[in-house]
């Protein structure tokens, strides 16, 4: 069936099964068309958002590292050896909302992978010396990221826009906290005890698998995992009552960067807000937006322009970023972005342009979902938000219903001057 057919079909082309174990662990199995390969993505609903205690930012990400330190049954060397022997690709990543451990492997190794993963989630063990050494690898990661001006821009944006909510720090954490990590062994044990629990965890298995046998394996290896009791009190961000600005003096050669951010609502699949702001980001700031064509293609004053409406668990930022070719044009570009925002607040967009965005979104998913690992990676983002792939179907149903007036209302409601933060970055030659 053609993807852009009038009657919207579910965006997910595969049926999935969802099962909850008595301990709170959830299993989502998605049999996909791609033979032989299986992708297991284990999503822990703990990210830098959960780092509520001062001095302890960056711990969700630190755990992404510590989880590879091994157990009594599978010490690190044996874990690595097993992963290598089965030819798996295994890694992990952390976001503000979740931590994801993922392995892609041949279908005959499903039991091996699920058993080994279950073991480390339940029996992780690391010495204080190993802990201290691993914190240095985290500092090494901060260091390798730090040569990009975008890393610094994001740090300053988060710190400027938020006062109380943990979105104030990036996933890496504040540098001073990373430098103090070697002294925080005991806190790390507490962090693991709180968050590495079945009620925080969803196992997503995608590819050449069947739901029944997968569930049996998960029950066998993960069934004895004990439910926890910790619930973080994540401070709500107070409403912003005036526009804010920040600036970064970058020590090396760079083109100036301008980010304009607005406080935006939490992810939602049962109201139009998220869908409307996503559509707005495309309509106003993507490659086929008027502003892009003006600033990037015709005037050639900007070489990079993008808008993003992040889907996060808590209210976060709608961001527009431009890289400006000449420092003298920073004010002009900022002005053009703000005028564009105003225009979208005043006049509903043509229905045909909204239709093009809808088509783009559906075809983009179809093009991306061309292998089991990518399907799992996309679904992991949704599972982190609502613990079910169904939320993706619901969001795309929202896109299908969206009207030009919905987009205008979202722009008026959220892209307000009061909730705005502008951060600029310039190099030694491009002072503001």
């Amino acid at each position: 069936m053609a993807l852009a057919a009038q009657t919207p079909q579910k965006i997910l082309p595969y049926p999935y099964s969802q099962a909850d174990l008595p301990n709170g662990l959830r299993l989502v199995t998605v049999p996909a068309d791609y033979p032989s390969i299986v992708a297991a993505f284990i999503v822990v609903s703990t990210g830098s958002r959960n780092e509520v205690e001062p001095g302890h930012t960056g711990f969700a990400h630190l755990f992404e590292h510590l989880m590879f330190k091994g157990t009594e049954k599978f010490p690190q060397a044996k874990y690595d050896e097993t992963i290598k022997r089965i030819g798996a690709a295994s890694n992990a990543f952390t976001t503000s909302d979740f931590t994801c451990y993922h392995t892609t492997f041949s279908k005959e190794d499903l039991a091996t992978v699920l058993a080994m993963e279950a073991d480390r989630f339940q029996n992780l063990k690391y010495s204080e010396a190993d802990f201290k050494t691993e914190t240095l690898a985290v500092l090494g990661e901060y260091n390798k990221n730090s040569s990009s001006p975008f890393s610094k821009l994001n740090e300053v944006l988060a710190d400027t826009a938020f006062d109380r909510h943990p979105y104030k720090h990036t996933t890496m954490g504040f540098l001073k906290d990373i430098e103090d990590m070697p002294n925080q062994y005991d806190y790390s044990l507490k962090f693991f005890d709180r968050y590495y629990r079945p009620e925080y965890t969803t196992i997503l298995v995608v590819g050449d698998v069947k739901a029944g046998p997968t569930r049996e394996l998960v029950e066998r290896y993960w069934g004895a995992w004990k439910r926890g009791s910790y619930q973080p009190e994540i401070p709500a961000e107070p409403p912003q009552d005036a526009p804010r600005t920040g600036h970064v003096d970058w020590p090396s050669e760079t083109l100036p960067l301008v980010t304009i951010a607005f406080k935006a609502p939490a992810y939602s699949d049962d109201a139009t807000d998220t869908a409307a702001l996503d559509a707005l980001a495309y309509l106003a700031f993507s490659e086929n937006a008027d502003l892009y064509q003006k600033l990037v293609l015709r005037e050639q004053k900007v070489d990079l322009l993008e808008g993003s409406s992040p889907s996060r668990v808590d209210p976060s930022l709608f961001e527009i970023t431009a890289r400006v070719k000449k420092a003298a044009d920073i004010d002009y570009v900022r002005g053009q972005i703000l005028e564009t925002v105003k225009a979208f607040q005043e006049k509903p967009v043509d229905a045909s342009r909204l239709d093009a965005v809808r088509k783009h979104l559906r075809y983009a998913v179809a093009l991306e979902m061309d292998n089991s690992e990518t399907i799992a990676r996309i679904l992991a983002e949704y599972v982190a938000l609502r613990r079910t792939p169904e939320t993706m179907n619901k969001l795309y149903a929202q896109y299908a219903r969206l009207t030009p007036e919905d987009v205008r209302q979202a722009a008026r409601k959220y892209l307000s001057e009061k909730g705005r933060t502008i951060v600029t970055l310039t190099g030694p030659e491009g002072a503001k």
Binding site: A2, L3, A4, S36, I37, F68, Q76, A77, D80, E81, I83, K84, R85, G87, A88, A89, S90, N91, T104, S106, A129, F131, K132, T133, E134, T135, L136, A137, L139, G140, E141, N143, K144, S146, S147, P149, P182, S252, L255, S286, E287, N288, Q293, L297, R298, Q300, D303, K325, A356, K359, H360, L361, R362, Y363, A364, A366, D370, N371, E373, T374
Partner: protein, 488 residues
């Protein structure tokens, strides 16, 4: 062929027919991978970046009938695009579409590659982007910068001796006429390999082939490549910039490519020493896991750009000459000298001791399965097929599996002895305080390491040896250049 340099001699006839690799499948998607077997190796150094600009003009410029803006508008609802990748010997255009949009997408793709618009405003924008890709892209990425400087230094004076993205100076001088001429002379049927996969209808491939016959037949020759110059001593290039840490790349040319009988054995050796961005490699274990020196340390026998963003190497970077490379991720400045010494110590030990039997077996089993992961997308599957065609070898995945199955530990130890070395290296460091690093490197002073936790006796003992490891560097072997002069 005015652009060809005198050393690029006619050595063999290329096939007169367009080479086409088709992989039909019931997928709702159609994937294109179109490779011209030409690249930056045929451009003169003074015109560095010409192959790159030409490809970017095709993928990021208008056609005769449509402006680039109109192309972007037409592609947007399809969520489609055409991407370009340029290397020494290959220019690759890749794209995919849902079969719903195949007709419309292919019409755009065909016009972009066969009927370019050559507008001056597109050229200005594409050239600006290329200059900024060096000034603020490459120079803001210490690790990638170091790797590209390493390649440039190792191949100096040969067709590989300049960065495929060009230099700021050469890009500023290039004109639209240069680009048009490169297209006319290099984008020929004899250089073309068409790849297509997925659910395209019957007859589609034939009509596509017919369309591409519009290109000139081609001169029917391939350039003879010039091997890298002999290295008589280890030399260090320090790229100085204001940065938090020190990134190292270390390497030397090896006479091994996928077409070599020793490829599988050497790939296994490099994988054991440091499989790209995976734990368990020797370097990763000794440098990061045991000592916390940095985020990771790996070994390579093929070009792998932008490895910090990618888990698997992009296909269609086939080269006649490859290097062996160690990638030492950024190290805190006080530990930089020790990290460099430790990397060399581990390489030295690997050469002396060879690969242990269990490590050999484990790595062989790993690679035999991991190779499936490399081709899990249709684009990658086509890319590897195209590379095999270019190298004149059997299909990569089954051929590598067969070679691995035949390998013995002795084979691997033999290639380690034959190809690897710990002297006559090129070393690149991206660092602040370049002169101070130079002084330390030339002094031969010990660089003792301190840790934030107690280390086992084995590590402490080894450190005593490592901290004093002679580097045999004379001050004249160490050059310091500011980052803003690199690729300038």
């Amino acid at each position: 062929m005015r652009l060809l340099l005198p050393w690029l001699l006619l050595v063999s006839s290329a096939p007169a027919q367009i080479r086409l690799l088709a992989r039909p499948s019931p997928s709702p998607l159609v994937t294109f991978r179109i490779v011209f077997t030409t690249g930056s190796a045929v451009e003169p150094r003074a015109k560095a970046g010409l192959a790159y600009l030409t490809a970017m003009m095709l993928a990021g410029g208008g056609t005769r009938d449509m402006t680039y803006q109109q192309i972007v508008d037409a592609m947007f609802p399809m969520a489609a695009s055409v991407s370009a990748q340029v290397d020494k010997e290959m220019c690759t255009f890749a794209g995919a579409t849902h079969v719903d949009n195949l007709k419309e997408y292919y019409k755009l793709l065909r016009a972009m590659l066969l009927d370019p618009g050559w507008r001056e405003d597109d050229f200005q924008r594409v050239r600006d982007d290329a200059i900024n890709a060096i000034k603020v892209g490459l120079r803001s990425n210490d690790e990638e910068l170091g790797k590209e400087v390493l390649y440039q230094n190792l191949f100096e004076g040969t067709p590989y001796g300049h960065y495929s993205g060009g230099t700021v100076g050469s890009l500023e001088k290039l004109t639209l006429d240069d680009v048009k001429q490169f297209y006319r002379t290099q984008y020929s049927q004899s250089h073309l390999i068409l790849g297509i996969a997925g659910g395209y209808p019957g007859g589609f491939v034939e009509s596509m082939k017919k369309d591409f016959r519009k290109l000139p037949a081609g001169a029917g020759f391939r350039p003879r490549m010039v091997p890298p110059p002999f290295i008589d001593a280890t030399r260090v290039a320090i790229v100085e910039k204001n940065t938090r840490s020190v990134a190292f790349s270390i390497g030397f040319p090896i006479g091994v490519t996928r077409a070599s009988p020793d490829y599988a054995a050497l790939l296994l050796a490099a994988s054991y020493l440091g499989q790209h961005r995976m734990s368990g490699g020797v370097l990763y274990d000794r440098m990061r896991e045991k000592r916390g020196l940095n985020y990771g340390d790996y070994a390579y026998i093929e070009y792998f750009p932008y490895g910090m963003f990618l888990m698997e190497p992009p296909p269609n970077l086939a080269r006649h000459f490859q290097i062996f490379q160690l990638w030492i991720r950024p190290v805190e400045p006080p530990a930089a000298m020790f990290a460099l010494r430790l990397a060399l110590h581990e390489l030295d030990r690997f050469i002396k001791d060879g690969i242990p039997q269990d490590g050999f077996e484990r790595t062989r089993d790993f690679l035999g399965k991991y190779v499936n992961v490399l081709t899990r997308t249709k684009g990658a599957e086509l890319g590897y097929l195209i590379d095999s065609t270019y190298y004149g070898t059997a299909n990569y995945v089954p051929a590598l599996k067969a070679s691995l199955a035949r390998l013995t530990r002795d084979d691997v130890n033999r290639v380690i002895q034959r190809y690897l070395r710990v002297d006559r290296l090129a070393i690149v460091a991206v660092s602040k305080n370049g002169e101070e690093l130079k002084r330390q490197l030339a002094s031969g002073d010990p660089s003792p390491m301190t840790y934030n936790s107690p280390k086992p006796a084995e590590i402490a003992e080894e450190d005593k040896v490592v901290e004093k490891r002679p580097l045999h560097l004379r001050p004249e072997d160490i050059k310091v250049a500011p980052a803003d002069q690199v690729f300038q």
